[in-house]
Amino acid sequence: MKLPPITKTYGNRKVLDLPALELADSTIHTIIGANGSGKSTLARILAGVLKPDDGRFSCMDRVGYMPQRSYPFRMSVLHNLQITGAGRERAMKQLETFGLAGLAHQSAKGLSGGETARLALARILIEDHPLLILDEPTAAMDVAATLLAEKILLEYQARTSCTVVLVTHSLTQARRVAGQVFFLQNGHLVEQGTAEQVLLHPRCADTRAFLDFYAL
């Protein structure tokens, strides 16, 4: 999938200025970078919920997008899944997969941060999407829940052969799941390549400095 050059400006501040990119089919792409590097802005533009400077960005239909602050709707946990159009049986099975079956009939508003994040991921992964965009889906999860979420995501990707764009602050997560890695800094693409290439043998000094800072 070829993406055109993307820029996004708020007032006088250009928060994103990317060249044309290519997303490889059936691959998990991880976007890494510090706060304010433009990761979430890129994810929102790819998902079609934010317009870039030059107007509407057309990616493709049926994009699945989990925003950074995914909203638990005021209804039961089960209904939060069924609102996607999934049947009760399928929704229950999905909740079991995510370890939330015991909370099915509770209000989603009463869940903890980690449970809410699991619900949000379960909700987006209940449908098959050709392109899946996840903005820090495991940020609120503990280690066990994070590893479970990664396992489910890898299985989902293998089953559906979808293209995944995963925004993460966790470099270890990027190493575990990513095929391709994009490193952003101040809205610019600094380096891209395979996970091994970018995370273990970076070419750019900025990438090395970022990785050294996080002591990978």
Partner: protein, 228 residues
């Protein structure tokens, strides 16, 4: 003061006819105007709160200005429209409960819309982004926003109802505070006070306070039930 209070309670429990008519007129006027204002103001508030395009700030500023409309100004405008020389004189609305309801609706719609707009503005962006990511339609997103605003919807209605009960300026100008016809509790309190009938005025004041207490207790109970 204590004697007047005791006499007022006695008047309330005696089933005084005039007091009963005032109470019924007040309930008729307040319930009708607040319900009509909810039907008009709630969709306006939800749409304004969930709208994120150009001109939103201007619309919000206009609505907030209307929220501060002086009741006597609304009363004056309605009086001029409905009076014998006004453009709507053929409707014969001056000194009627319907005319009072119209004046109240003009006052309450921005209030209810503004109350909902401020809540919806805070939750709508996250709901919209989440729902769009799930591929839900715009109509479905609007329903989700309304579902998330249940408490604020009832709270906004009760705010409007409380205001309708307490308002005096517009209803006295449009209704004329005619005994057995358009006299409501607030205008009656003014009239009875001017006549020196403090016991009756105090009795009406107690009923108004009791209504306010019930409304606020209702809001608190609802909040407790919805928010846990």
């Amino acid at each position: 003061m204590k004697t007047a209070f005791v006499q007022a309670l006695a008047l309330i429990t005696s089933g005084d006819r005039q007091l009963g008519i005032i109470l019924v007129t007040t309930l008729r006027m307040a319930l009708s105007s607040s319900m009509i204002a909810l039907l008009l103001g709630a969709p306006l508030g939800v749409l304004l709160g969930s709208y994120a395009g150009r001109g939103k700030r201007t619309l919000v500023v206009i609505n907030r200005t209307l929220m501060g409309l002086p009741p006597v100004v609304v009363g004056l405008v309605c009086y001029m429209l409905f009076s014998g020389v006004g453009p709507l004189r053929h409707l014969r609305l001056l000194y009627t409960v319907t005319g009072m309801v119209i004046a109240q609706v003009i006052l309450l719609v921005p209030l209810i819309a503004g109350s909902l707009e401020s809540h919806v503005s805070t939750v709508a962006p996250d709901i919209r982004e989440t729902a769009l990511g799930m591929g839900l339609s715009r109509g479905r997103i609007l329903l989700l926003i309304i579902n998330e605003s249940q408490y604020q919807l009832v709270s906004a209605y009760l705010l409007g109802l409380g205001r309708a009960f307490a308002e005096v300026g517009a209803v006295s100008m449009v209704g004329g505070a005619i005994a057995y016809k358009t006299n409501v509790m607030t205008t009656a309190i003014m009239n009875y006070t001017n006549m020196g009938a403090f016991t009756t005025a105090l009795a009406l004041g107690i009923i108004l306070l009791a209504i306010s207490l019930v409304l606020n207790a209702g809001v608190a109970l609802l909040h407790w039930r919805l928010e846990g």
